[in-house]
Point group: C2
Chain length 297, copies 2
Amino acid sequence: MRIYLDCIGCFVRQALDAARHATDDEQIHKEVLRRVLRMAGELDLSLSPPAIGQQIHRLIRELTGNDDPYRQAKCRFNNLALRLYPDLRKRIISSSSPLETAIRLAIAGNIIDLGVKTSILENEIEGVIRDCLTADFDSLAVKAFGDAVSKAERVLYLADNAGEIVLDRLLIEQLPVEKVTVAVKGSPVINDATMEDALLAGLPRIVEVIDNGSDAPGTILETCSETFRGRFEDADLIVAKGQGNYETLSDVDKKIFFILKVKCPVIARELGCEIGRMILQKSRAFSDIGELVKEAE
Amino acid sequence: MRIYLDCIGCFVRQALDAARHATDDEQIHKEVLRRVLRMAGELDLSLSPPAIGQQIHRLIRELTGNDDPYRQAKCRFNNLALRLYPDLRKRIISSSSPLETAIRLAIAGNIIDLGVKTSILENEIEGVIRDCLTADFDSLAVKAFGDAVSKAERVLYLADNAGEIVLDRLLIEQLPVEKVTVAVKGSPVINDATMEDALLAGLPRIVEVIDNGSDAPGTILETCSETFRGRFEDADLIVAKGQGNYETLSDVDKKIFFILKVKCPVIARELGCEIGRMILQKSRAFSDIGELVKEAE
């Protein structure tokens, strides 16, 4: 998905947020803004939003000398999610459809996205969890997801943010873990989950965890490591979590389930829905295969 | 009040909004954004937000060749407010404190601000009116406002936006109209009210209406006409409506009542309150005079 002009104002806000996370020095905040504005004025508008985000956050890390501006925020959200985890797990186990409940909670976790919002309050997260457990949801999509996972031999689960990754664990526990690999980012960008967060979430104890070798807030295959690209190629099902992965993979010809909460007007427009909606959506590659099978019959 | 770094991302969004109001040509939208980003990268950060807004919207009018991008939107909001006017007027007359009810409604009207928000739905405005009629409000400030108006000989009421100006009329009708002059903008900027909107609101039938000779989305005295500056100087009470007037006049040494609804985090921080709050607040000149009197006693 290409950047919309609407994304640019949002990037400017995001750059200031990141600069403030990195340092209290207002001179540096100003310098970051000036440089990001200049960069934004010369943007290649054929890129995806995370490709631009990658450039901007590299610049911010360079200008602030802070290689992980969101470290504290990530830690805070991991701890919050770990506090919520035991109760949420019980709720899944005792629910009439554990898979659906786990998907709902993984989507709720996607609210922990500091790319879209400047700050998120803890009680806001708990409110979103409550809402996601009861909001309208496509049960046919849940069934299709369950079927796709059953059929697949190698599932690659692309994690999104720190904190959120603890709620992803709830969903991963409902999958056949022996065939699931979780991928995190290769190095810090915004509050995206890295190996450190996967470790805190306890994921390596239940599934294989790899990193994608990239610092893009999404999955830009060309900037990922060769190892990761091989694993992506080999997987017969991708589970892509969050807006950044949707933005970078929506045009990729691969069987992908996108799982996210719609948090900005641009994604709402792309998906033809309202902000706030819970999304569990197959990529086009599924229907193409369906059509081919139909044609062959 | 000086610009905050937070304002810059908001200006970028506002520029795109204005470009879209002005033309459907996406090439022009892109060009507007590029030019505004370049301008924003070289900003004088000692200016007030409306001073920057003035420069940006001049550039947009020049690039799009549209001298009033918000013409249709202004017309729509005037018509909506005129439809609501008769019922709201009855409500004021039958209320236990007509002045307070009228102030509440004038504040509610301040939601019609397309500088802060990309779009406003009609039912949103009706919701804000309902909320403003019942929300907590400082009745001491209402009394102080009433007293200040009674004591003043020449009241200058600085209108803010189209549509809103119809709700301002409800408040102006509760004032001693013979000593009130209403000022609108000299020429179009965002959805700020000009003489055309004052006429549609029927204001010249009840008070004197002048324009300030300026195209700033606030009151930057240096860019106003000499006539207006004279009237500002002569007035012994200014009623300043909306965020733009607060941003440009909060440091001016003059007896001013600011009337507005807080709609953005920067103004909320300046005023030390939450977004959504209704504000009826005296300028510092009032308390300075109070202190001088006290010292003299």
